[in-house]
């Protein structure tokens, strides 16, 4: 019984939130959700759709034509050309798009390579599809970059895809053009799909460039690109996203999507329409706020350099500091694993107990994330200030 779910685990982020809920005065840097509400214009767009009585029925399985048409226009502004009628699919959040894509391109027993540390749910989706996740570590010394040699070694006859998050959650890394092109070359050579989850692409700081392999027409049959409205437009609860690829892939993915959800929630599709119609300025405002908060959290972390080392994130609203094993050893020997790294789960629980600051243990993001914590700066400045006031007090004598 429950064979399919035996190896699945509940999100560690959710587990940590559950733990934090036991402390009434806990400050959370764990939740990966923006503190902003969905912009007013989007809400008005939904109200209009409700008044017109157009949200009660299913849409076409790939999504409302007007929304897909707008997605095509939006992609065009980013140098990507996809046919809204055949190559764009509206999904119930990015995770549904990811699940449908993996189920469409694999058979049970296949392997999918994931650079890690990366988003926790990828592992579960791959497992749920009957496939095996193969973790390939990112190089922290090189700013959490890919190491192509390691991918070459990880590829077997069962490998079907390389699945990455760009910009990456939890490291905030942007993979540059050279790295991605090398990955594409490898995918071409070994006939692999490339699944690119680009949920954070709107929050890029310091005028860094962002490049997507979906911009290269020759790769359109290999690349499945996923984008969600959740983060960019503060719409996590609406569960709405889209994916695009060559029609031969989207045709197959749509079959799975249709079996899973019939169509994305129509009310949310209207919200997405509103987002594309007039949401650009809201993204700009959010980005400005996140940049201020990133600078604040990095400054605070730099003040605790004896405890944490970190790479300044170029994107997203996360920072992923490493915890000093020396300090952890000094606090409690039990906080150290047999491999001599800091047990991030125990350390996060310890922080919660002692300072009532909730964080996400790095092990949630893959083996290479052990010894780290993910801190979110998606919440208000005051939240960050208070969390660090407590941390500074806690580590005062260390």
């Amino acid at each position: 019984m429950f064979e399919r779910t035996q190896d699945l685990r509940l999100s560690i982020i959710k587990q940590m939130e559950l733990e934090a809920s036991k402390y009434p005065d806990a400050v959370s840097l764990a939740q990966g959700i923006p503190n902003f509400d969905t912009p007013e214009f989007i809400k008005r767009r939904v109200e209009r759709a409700l008044k017109r009585g157009v949200v009660a029925k299913y849409s076409l399985s790939p999504g409302l034509p007007e929304l897909r048409e707008m997605v095509e226009e939006s992609l065009e502004t980013e140098g990507m050309f996809y046919d809204w009628e055949k190559e764009i699919l509206i999904t119930a959040g990015s995770i549904e798009g990811i699940t449908a894509s993996i189920m469409a391109i694999t058979k049970p027993g296949d392997e999918i390579i994931i650079p890690e540390p990366t988003y926790t749910s990828y592992r579960e989706v791959i497992k749920l599809s009957g496939c095996r996740p193969v973790f390939v570590p990112l190089n922290k010394e090189k700013g959490w970059a890919f190491e192509i040699e390691k991918y070459k070694q990880a590829i077997t006859s069962k490998t079907k895809a390389i699945f990455y998050c760009n910009p990456n959650n939890p490291t905030g890394t942007i993979y540059d053009r050279t790295q991605l092109l090398k990955l594409a070359e490898l995918a071409e050579k070994n006939d692999l799909f490339l699944i690119s989850d680009e949920v954070y692409k709107d929050f890029i700081y310091d005028e860094k460039n962002f490049f997507s392999l979906a911009e290269i027409p020759e790769l359109r049959k290999r690349v499945i690109r996923i984008f969600s409205f959740s983060k960019a437009y503060a719409m996590t609860g609406w569960r709405i996203a889209y994916l695009h690829s060559d029609e031969q892939n989207v045709k197959e993915i749509t079959k799975v999507h249709d079996s899973l959800v019939t169509c994305a929630p129509v009310i949310s599709q209207y919200a997405a329409l509103g987002a594309l119609e007039a949401g650009k300025k809201d993204i700009k405002n959010f980005k400005k706020k996140y940049l201020e908060r990133r600078n604040l959290i990095c400054k605070k972390l730099a003040n605790l350099s004896k405890i944490f080392d970190f790479v300044t994130p170029d994107s997203s609203y996360y920072v992923f500091p490493g915890i000093s094993p020396k300090l952890a050893q000094k606090i409690d020997k039990n906080l150290i694993t047999e491999q001599g790294r800091v047990d991030s789960w125990k350390f996060a629980l310890w922080l919660l107990e002692k300072a009532q600051v909730a964080t996400v243990p790095g092990m949630a993001f893959g083996p290479n994330g052990e010894g780290h914590l993910r801190l979110s700066f998606g919440r208000e400045k005051e939240n960050i200030e208070e969390a660090f006031r407590r941390l500074e007090k806690l580590f005062k004598n260390c």
Binding site: E40, R44, P65, K86, E87, E277, A278
Partner: protein, 248 residues
């Protein structure tokens, strides 16, 4: 309160827009249909700009009773905030005599309820109109398909010089019977004036042949989907029409 404000705003903008159009007398190209209006509009704009015409097209969704006048007057929307509408209301009369008013306006006409087209055509008199296609999209605003088609039939009847129709769509093709203007049909059907044939999907886009009485054109696009083939075809029709006119 909101309703009254909207009605007042609608008529205020309407009469200012009519005055501006009376003063500047631009050529109006109307783009209507259930889908593909935006891509068609962009292609026509590119074509006409190459002819050194000063062209303005309405931004996406500025295609209804309030959006269309704003686009013509080149004003932003105040959306749902009264405060943001105030500068728009003050600036609107100044736009009547604005310098550099475009000689050509390419306007997407959006209809989602019965009567929408009648209102929009009380604002603008298109010299050229294009109907991209008619599908069941937006059908919820009408009693049935016939009522929706009447909106487009009105546009066909009110267009003065040239009506461009998608010959592959039955409902669009039937609009020809309502037209006063010259009609040019495009599509894959044999009786099309501009016939699209040999569509091929390539690695970097698609290719097709566009055939009319005068010549065959081999066309290569870096975009995917039949709607782009239609948009390009329409822009060629406009280009040829332009070349045949002494004054556009």
């Amino acid at each position: 309160m909101k309703k009254i404000f909207k009605i007042l705003l609608k008529y205020y903008l309407k009469y200012i827009t009519k005055l501006a159009l009376l003063v500047h007398r631009p050529t109006i190209v109307a783009v209507a249909g259930s889908t593909n209006k935006s891509f068609v509009k962009k292609e026509i704009k590119k074509t006409l700009e190459k002819k050194d015409l000063k062209v303005r097209a309405n931004p996406k969704n500025f295609n209804t009773e309030i959006g269309l006048p704003l686009a013509i007057l080149y004003l932003p929307s105040g959306y749902n905030e009264y405060r943001k509408w105030l500068p728009v209301i003050f600036k609107a009369p100044l736009k009547i005599f604005q310098k550099n008013f475009p000689s050509c306006l390419i306007l997407e006409l959006g209809t989602s309820d019965a009567g929408d087209m009648k209102y929009l055509l009380s604002l603008v008199k298109p010299r050229i109109s294009i109907v991209t296609n008619i599908t069941q999209r937006y059908l919820e605003g009408y009693n049935d398909m016939n009522e929706m088609v009447k909106e487009f039939a009105l546009l066909a009847a009110k267009t003065s010089n040239l009506l461009i129709l998608n010959n592959d769509n039955n409902r669009v093709r039937e609009l020809a019977s309502r037209a006063q203007a010259k009609i040019i049909k495009f599509g894959e059907k044999d009786d099309s004036d501009y016939k699209i044939k040999d569509i091929k999907k390539e690695k970097k886009g698609q290719t097709f042949i566009l055939k009319n009485k005068k010549k065959n054109r081999d066309i290569e696009l870096n975009k995917f989907g039949k709607h782009h083939i239609h948009a390009h075809t329409i822009s060629f029709i406009i280009k040829d029409y332009f070349n045949g006119q002494k004054k556009f």
